[in-house]
Symmetry: C2
DNA sequence: TATACTTGTAATCAAATCAATTACACGTTA
DNA sequence: TAACGTGTAATTGATTTGATTACAAGTATA
């Protein structure tokens, strides 16, 4: 199973707001680039706003970045859109048999291992900024002759 | 969202088979330790068998490890029980707008980043063996006075 | 051979999550 | 006041999960 595409869409939204920084990034405008429904975008904008990544105001069209691109990592977006809870990337079965040596210890043994794996993944996300993403897109655009 | 507990249960199964290596680890025996239905265990045993981690035979009670504990990593189990497909830990939205510079490049830009994060997580899983798990459980058992 | 037990596997079910969609209250601007 | 935007709740179909039931087929033992 996969982590919700809310994460990828969140990155898309922030990147697009930057690309369109001269213009107005309304939920409808963004939705047409993402190719989804404006209400989906508004819901995600609410999460990004709550996390302090963008500024949006009721009734006023358009969202703006609240921070510099270089100050927003993929990990920030990942946390903002709430796709994976802390220590819960991996789920562990409930109620193993406490009368069995394996059953009564397996959870406590496995959890730190799972946590370490999750943290390693999140560390990579934290090492990439949206500036890196924009730079890469710019590069790809220039290569298309 | 979380990765299926099939992974945790797979680890439980293999660990239990080792703990019970003098006895017979039937699907019912394992199910009572995991606290689930024997059919669930049999399905997982089928996956573990297919991956070459255990030996089971139709009609013959009990499963045995096909390799030494120190030769089975958590990554092996993770692959065996098929909880996350290659390059698909993170899902990316489909059909972004090709007429937008962001829409037409976002997928190709994001995918390698997601892949790197997934690989970092999997690398940690590959660095832990079932022997480590058993050792930890043994240690925890001894501490209970 | 007959019986009991086991594995292998398919079908079904309720619950959870996702993403899309519709609808509408409320704020802002012209 | 009319038009347009955000904020947010409710509904829907699709998909996945884990539990359960059922049964065919393999094996061992009396």
């Amino acid at each position: 199973m996969s982590i919700s595409s809310r994460f990828a869409v969140g990155i898309h939204i922030l990147t697009l707001i930057d690309f369109n920084r001269e213009g107005t990034s309304s939920s409808e405008f963004i939705a047409s680039s993402v190719n989804t429904n404006p209400a989906v975008i508004r819901k995600l904008m609410g999460m990004l706003k709550k996390a302090g990544l963008i500024e949006v105001h009721p009734g006023i069209a358009g969202a703006k970045l609240a921070k510099d691109l270089s100050e927003i990592t993929l990990f920030d977006v990942y946390k903002a859109v709430n796709v994976v809870q802390e220590k819960e990337l991996f789920s562990v079965h409930n109620n193993p048999n406490p009368q069995c040596p394996v059953g009564r210890n397996i959870q406590n043994t496995i959890e730190p291992l799972f946590e370490a794996a999750q943290l390693a993944m999140e560390k990579v996300l934290g090492s990439v900024t949206l500036e890196d993403v924009v730079t890469d897109i710019d590069k790809k655009e220039k290569m298309e002759c």
